[in-house]
Structure formats: structure tokens, C-alpha cells
């Protein structure tokens, strides 16, 4: 049963991932990304991480990809791009290098972490099954995020706010008349 679920979810993830790369239409590519995210959510559920699965669907499928689609529709870039034109010449070889590097990093991390994964009932995310408390999943994540890793968590939120403020600042077009008397304010 677990193998069957895994094969189905993995197929979803892979088909979606290949679709993102292969589909030439941006909207279709974004929809393939949704398929991948759903596959990952199914894998989370299969591993008893229900809260993570729900958050995956709410945040990634429900907000982030919707924003992608929103931008694609609003900017009207939903036509097929001509791949022969290359605005920045180094970006394709660079993308290959970065892609292979990321893959190598992920593989190394998975191989290294193999021994440190806790298995058996009552440890890790299995606690929900062992104790029979459906909310223990949420409690564990809360204790991890707001207890053990609270400093990193707050740093990330500061980073996000800085990014938002920076984007707003950069995207406002400089106005000559405004800068001349803007100092008065």
C-alpha cells in the first residue's frame, strides 16, 4: 500500500517537474508546478506529516503559484517565447553549472543525513500515531520553529520584509519634481 502511494505520488512529482521544463507555455508550466506540489503534499501525508501537507497546499499551491499565474496574466507574457534570442549570453552555461551544483548538494545532503533520520514509533513525526493525539504534529513544529530555531525564524522574516521594502523602493520610478522638493518632508 505504501509502495503504491509512493509510486503514484512520485509519478505526479516527476511528470509535473518534467512538464515545468518542457511545456513552452508559461501557464501550462505553472500548472505542471502545481501538480508537482500536490505530489509532494501526498508524500507528506504518506509520511504522517499532515500539517506540512496542508501548509504545502495552502502556501505553495494556494498562494505562490497563484501569484505566478497572476503575474503571467497581468503582464501578458502568456505567449510562446522565442528561445533563439538570448539577452544575457552567459546565463545558459551558468544555469547548467548552478543546476548540477544544486543537484550535487542535495544528493550529498540526503546521503549524509541517511543515518540521522530517526525511525520507529514515538520519534519524529510518528509521535502523532504513537500518542494518539492528532494535534501533536502541530505542537512539534511549533516547538521547533518558535523554540529551537526562533532566531533563524525571525531572521528569515526580517529578510522577507527587507526584500519587500527593497522591491517597492526599486520599482517606484524616480520622479525629478519629487526629488527636488522631497527633502522638505
Amino acid at each position: 500500500m505504501e509502495l503504491f502511494v509512493f509510486i503514484c505520488a512520485a509519478a505526479m512529482v516527476l511528470v509535473g517537474a518534467i512538464g515545468v521544463v518542457v511545456r513552452s507555455h508559461p501557464v501550462h508550466a505553472a500548472l505542471s508546478l502545481v501538480l508537482t506540489l500536490f505530489g509532494v503534499a501526498v508524500l507528506f501525508v504518506a509520511k504522517e506529516a499532515h500539517f506540512l501537507a496542508a501548509v504545502q497546499v495552502i502556501v505553495y499551491s494556494g498562494a505562490i503559484v497563484v501569484l505566478f499565474l497572476f503575474v503571467i496574466m497581468l503582464l501578458g507574457v502568456d505567449n510562446v517565447e522565442d528561445l533563439r534570442i538570448e539577452p544575457i549570453t552567459v546565463q545558459r552555461p551558468l544555469a547548467t553549472v548552478v543546476g548540477i551544483g544544486t543537484l550535487a548538494l542535495l544528493v550529498t545532503a540526503v546521503v549524509q543525513a541517511q543515518d540521522s533520520v530517526r525511525t520507529g514509533s514515538g520519534t519524529g513525526i510518528d509521535e502523532a500515531i504513537a500518542t494518539g493525539d492528532p494535534d501533536s504534529n502541530v505542537r512539534q513544529i511549533a516547538r521547533d520553529l518558535f523554540g529551537d530555531h526562533v532566531f533563524a525564524f525571525e531572521l528569515v522574516s526580517v529578510l522577507l520584509i527587507v526584500a519587500v521594502v527593497g522591491t517597492v523602493l526599486l520599482s517606484r520610478r524616480p520622479d525629478k519634481s519629487l526629488t527636488s522638493d522631497g527633502g522638505r518632508r
Partner: protein
């Protein structure tokens, strides 16, 4: 062992499977029939408020009008526009229809939650179950996930039609639904904080009797914010900019006809019912009876209906909110787009966040034994300081916009 349904714990026999199947079919049929009745109810109530008669020809009181309309829609020509994206065009109605149905699964539709009872029902053959299709661990988060998916239905419908007005309607819809989902989530968090659980049956069980509905802490601010955000999430008047007829022809579903249009229509009305049911579950105790105990007057809310007691109470409460939604539609004019965004981002989200912080502070004060008046005072002062900062920031940005020559 945890499961979606207490029935599935332990050995599974044919009877258990049969019970689950019957529950699925019942929820499906009840959902469809109640949607049909809701359409009739809305048309009848609105016509009453507008001094008209409303549907009165098909069946008694016009009850079968929706059925007649549905059959008519089935036999209409199914058009697919030439410029449309055919696959996405066909997919979109289902993306909007399926989430509307799935939310039904997590709503406790009945059962006895009074006292220490947890709403479990024992069927013949010692099968213990709930009057609820599923009670997942993530509980009410499923509602947020499904309303996140429902955005795709509307958004892709507008985009795939390949024409201007549907696209404009769907861009509006996605911006509106994503913005109000934040307000929906933060007001929901206040309820979850007090209930201490995510599961819908757990939330209902924690609201025993009139006094445990948390009328002060969640019944005023979070409830009003949830009601407004839910109305916006449903794209119902006064937030129906998605299908503003005067501006957008018909909005995202302009190019749809026949059964695909019927699916959108069905999803919209079904969402209204499920959202009312969710409001009742979160804020007003779901199937809990309204027991009164004031002075000499005592009534435990027993309607002498036996096991159906909870279901009848649930239906009565849901009806109140269905009426409120129809009432909104009949009385309130549609908002302008910038008013909609201002209301969501500058008013609802900050207020619900502030209230959530205050509730959390009180919760901590109770645990640690701090002086509650002092905690409340400090909380209110910091909320006021935050509000003043926000107001100042908005004033500055409004002045900058004016200087740059913006017209609003």
C-alpha cells in the same frame, strides 16, 4: 491509532465499508439537494425584499424551478471559444466544483456534543462513528487549502476563455481571493487558539453551551472579520466584482455555457452553504443545542427529536447565515476595486492580527498568573501604537501618491 473516521480503526469488515459508502452518498446527495433549495431560497427571499413574487410556477411554491433550470442547461449547446485553451477551459469548472464539495466532508452535521460527549454515534453492530464524513488531523486547515484550490477554477476559467472581459474578471478574482484568504486565516487563528485543536469536531466539542461560545473573545471581532472575508472569498455581493455585469459583461464565466456554466453556478451556491456551515461550526457551536440557564429559566435545548436533535440545531443555525448572505445581496451596493483592497489589507488584516496578539497575551497571562489588567493595558497600548504607525505610513504614502499625480 488515528484515522479519518473512528470506524476505520482496527479490523475493517464489509459493514464498516458500507457505512462509509452510505455516508459519502448521503453527504453528496444532501449537498446537491440543499444547493438546489438554496437557489430557490435566495430567489424567493430576494424577490420578497424587492416586492416581487419570484419563482412560483414549477412545483409547489416554485420549489422545482432550479431543477427545471438545471435540466434546461444540460440540453443547451456546449460552446468552446475558438481562441480558448481547450484543455484548461474544460478543466476549470471541475477545479471550482470539486473543492466546493470536499469542504462538506469536514463539517460535523450532527451528533451529541453536550457535556463530555464527543459527538460519537454508535450504530447497530457496535460500529462507532461520527455524523461527519471525515475528521482529518488538519481539520479546518483543509478549508483554507480547498479555498486556495478554488481560486484556480475561477482564475483559469477566465484565462482559458481567450477573451478580454473574462481575463479581467479572473485577475480581479484571484487578487481578491488571495488577499482575503489572509484575513480569513488570521481570524480563524483566534478560534483555534481558544479551542486548542484543529479538528472541527474538537472545536465543536469545546463550545459546550451558550457560555462556552467565546462570545466576547471570538464572537465579535474574529466573527465579523471572518464573515466579511468569507463573503469576499465566495465572491458574493457586495464583493462580486468578479462578475460585475456593468463592467465585465459576465466576468470569468462569460464564455461558458451549458453544463460547464451549471458547474460554476452550482459551486458558487454550494460554497455559500458550506461557508455558512463553517461559520456555525467555528463560532456558534455547530450541532450544540442552544441551552438557556438564566435565573429561573432553564432549557437544555432538547427538541425531543432524539438523535436528530443536533442536526436540527445545526440546520437552524445554518439557515440564519444563509438568510444573512441573501440579505447582504439585497441591501449592499457593490464595492469599488480600491475600496475592496483597502478594506482587506488596511483594516481587516491588521485588526485580526492585533486581536489575535491580545488573545495570545491573555492566554499567556492566565498560564503564568500575571496581572490580567496590566497585560490587557500593555497589549492595548502596543496595539494603539501599531495602529498609529500604520495610519501615519498610510498618510505619507497617500501624500506621495497625490504629489506624483495619482487620481485616487
Amino acid at each position: 491509532m488515528l484515522a479519518l473516521d473512528p470506524l476505520l480503526i482496527g479490523d475493517l469488515d464489509l459493514g464498516d465499508l458500507l457505512v462509509v459508502l452510505v455516508k459519502v452518498v448521503v453527504v453528496f446527495v444532501v449537498g446537491l439537494v440543499s444547493t438546489m433549495l438554496m437557489v430557490w431560497f435566495e430567489r424567493k427571499v430576494i424577490s420578497g425584499m424587492q416586492n416581487r413574487v419570484g419563482p412560483n410556477k414549477a412545483g409547489p411554491f416554485g420549489l422545482l424551478q432550479t431543477l427545471a433550470d438545471g435540466i434546461k442547461l444540460f440540453f443547451k449547446e456546449d460552446l468552446i471559444p475558438d481562441k480558448s485553451d481547450r484543455f484548461v477551459f474544460k478543466l476549470a469548472p471541475y477545479l471550482s466544483f470539486v473543492p466546493a464539495f470536499l469542504v462538506w466532508a469536514i463539517i460535523p452535521l450532527g451528533g451529541d456534543f453536550t457535556g463530555d460527549k464527543t459527538g460519537l454515534v454508535t450504530l447497530p453492530g457496535d460500529r462507532v462513528t461520527r455524523i461527519q464524513l471525515a475528521d482529518p488531523q488538519v481539520g479546518v486547515l483543509l478549508l483554507l487549502a480547498l479555498s486556495g484550490i478554488a481560486v484556480y477554477g475561477i482564475m483559469l476559467a477566465g484565462w482559458a476563455s481567450g477573451s478580454k472581459y473574462p481575463l479581467l474578471g479572473s485577475v480581479r478574482a484571484s487578487a481578491q481571493m488571495v488577499s482575503y484568504e489572509a484575513a480569513l486565516g488570521t481570524s480563524l487563528a483566534a478560534v483555534l487558539l481558544l479551542a486548542g485543536t484543529l479538528s472541527t469536531s474538537g472545536i465543536v466539542a469545546s463550545q459546550e453551551g451558550f457560555t462556552n461560545w467565546h462570545l466576547v473573545s471570538t464572537g465579535v471581532l474574529p466573527f465579523v472579520i471572518f464573515l466579511i472575508a468569507a463573503t469576499a472569498e465566495l465572491n458574493r455581493p457586495p464583493f462580486d466584482l468578479v462578475e460585475a455585469e456593468q463592467e465585465l459583461v459576465g466576468g470569468f464565466n462569460t464564455e461558458y455555457s451549458s453544463i460547464r456554466f451549471a458547474l460554476f453556478f452550482l459551486a458558487e451556491f454550494m460554497n455559500t452553504i458550506t461557508m455558512s456551515a463553517i461559520i456555525v461550526t467555528l463560532f456558534f457551536g455547530g450541532p450544540q443545542p442552544l441551552s438557556i440557564d438564566i435565573g429561573g429559566l432553564q432549557w437544555d435545548g432538547d427538541l425531543y427529536l432524539g438523535p436528530l436533535n443536533g442536526t436540527v440545531w445545526f440546520l437552524l443555525k445554518v439557515l440564519v447565515f444563509l438568510y444573512v448572505y441573501v440579505w447582504f445581496r439585497a441591501t449592499l451596493p457593490r464595492l469599488r476595486y480600491d475600496q475592496l483592497m483597502d478594506l482587506g489589507w488596511k483594516l481587516l488584516i491588521p485588526i485580526s492580527l492585533g486581536w489575535f496578539m491580545l488573545l495570545a497575551a491573555f492566554r499567556l497571562a492566565q498560564q503564568e498568573g500575571w496581572n490580567r489588567v496590566l497585560v490587557g493595558g500593555i497589549g492595548l497600548v502596543s496595539i494603539a501604537a501599531g495602529a498609529a504607525l500604520l495610519a501615519a505610513a498610510m498618510k505619507v504614502s497617500a501624500r506621495n501618491r497625490e504629489r506624483e499625480g495619482a487620481m485616487f
